[in-house]
């Protein structure tokens, strides 16, 4: 699978269709984001897996914003899974990236990873490598929905109380691009206090994820205390889908919440 990806990237670089490819590099036993400009380096390309599929995924689209802004005259290839493609779409919708500057190189996630992520669509529309596996239902959300309201309230209150306010969920998020963040605004939330204002801090972020969150799950992986953020934002996706018929990450338009 990786050889096919390398070949495709090499073609894109050699033909001059792109000037750089944002992917992952294997170095000293670690896997890190890297902009490949020299085809020779592609020997060390990695798809974001060390011990098992997708265990070293990074929000590449977030890094691409900074690179593309610094080099508006260049075109970039980027390694995308299903979630990364949803991130790209959302970033295009909100004018954070120019689609003319981006050439996605898609890979499909294996079934094992799709199940672990409860991913709705574990593949981008166009795949260079990997076999498309079926989308999965959000079982984690259903499980919590089955609880009595008071039990559910207690569950989430307990989860939010663990927060150490590292802001990692925001900092890793591929669709958190606001110049001014509500979570850092003293007028709206308590910014310099501890413990975390519960449940306001997390609900403010959850509300802002409506029509934005593309379900990559990187926030939950970055959370030092294990708050099931992905489940929370999956629920937000479902609400947007059911109440406003908006499919975050799949639509070509901004969410209806941004219509005003």
């Amino acid at each position: 699978m990786i050889e096919t990806v390398k070949e495709q990237v090499r073609k894109l670089l050699d033909s001059g269709q792109i000037q750089g490819f944002l992917g992952l590099l294997e170095k000293n036993g670690h896997i890190s984001p890297h902009l490949f400009t020299d085809p020779e380096e592609l020997d060390r390309l990695n798809l974001g897996e060390r011990d098992k599929p997708g265990d070293a995924r990074y929000p590449l689209t977030k890094y691409l914003i900074k690179i593309a802004r610094a080099h508006p005259d260049k075109k970039f290839g980027i390694l995308v899974r299903g979630c990364d493609e949803r991130a790209l779409k959302t970033l295009y919708n909100y004018n954070q990236l120019n689609p003319g500057q981006v050439v996605p190189v898609g890979i499909a996630c294996p079934e094992e990873l799709a199940r672990e992520c409860e991913c709705r669509q574990p593949y981008p529309e166009e795949c260079v490598a990997g076999e498309k596996s079926e989308g999965c239902a959000s079982v984690s959300v259903d499980r919590l929905d089955e609880l009595e309201l008071s039990e559910r309230f207690d569950y989430w209150t307990e989860q939010y109380a663990k927060c150490i306010k590292c802001y990692g969920c925001r900092d890793v998020c591929p669709v958190c691009f606001c110049n001014e963040c509500t979570l850092a605004s003293e007028d709206l939330v308590q910014t310099k206090t501890f413990p975390t204002e519960t449940p306001l801090f997390h609900l403010v972020r959850a509300a802002h994820m409506a029509g934005r969150c593309i379900d990559c799950g990187l926030c939950e992986q970055a959370c030092p205390v294990g708050i099931p953020l992905r489940t929370l934002y999956k629920k937000i996706y479902n609400i947007m889908d059911e109440e406003l018929d908006y499919q975050t990450g799949y639509s070509e338009e901004k969410s209806p919440l941004n219509a005003i």
Binding site: H30, D55, Y58, Y63, K74, V172, P224
Partner: protein, 135 residues
């Protein structure tokens, strides 16, 4: 055009979390927690997430300083280390190792603090070791 990441260890405490510093065209622009690090597994605290902000502070000391005639003067590492070694030896010979004291730092790794106290105890021969966090 160059975008790369440099793997390094957090200097905020002794835990030893690993992260990448994002380097775009020679400028450090961000911090990315390392997911393959056995120490922090892709997680960081709020201080670690913002390391890239302080490392480029113009107030940061980037070269050693030696006090000469009452004033701090920039020196190269060779000169600073030679001077320190020479004075440590002189003081220990004249007044005994107990006349020396060592102040460790909260902004280095656990391992560096270990080496530091080992140097003081086993190398120089004093138990006069303390830590900046007590100040």
């Amino acid at each position: 055009m160059e975008y790369t990441t440099a793997l390094t260890t957090c200097t905020y405490c002794g835990c030893g979390c690993n992260f990448y510093l994002e380097v775009l065209d020679g400028q450090v622009i961000g911090t990315i927690p390392c997911k393959t690090s056995p120490t922090n597994e892709g997680k960081l605290c709020i201080k670690g997430w913002n390391v890239h902000e302080f490392i480029q502070s113009p107030k940061r000391l980037t070269r050693p300083l030696i006090r000469k005639n009452g004033e701090l003067v920039e020196a190269d590492w060779e000169e600073a280390l030679d001077y320190t070694a020479q004075r440590l030896k002189e003081i220990a010979e004249q007044n005994g190792p107990e006349s020396l004291g060592f102040m460790a730092s909260a902004k280095v790794t656990n391992e560096e603090n270990y080496i530091f106290q080992k140097f003081a105890r086993a190398g120089v021969g004093t138990n006069n070791i303390d830590h900046c966090a007590r100040l």
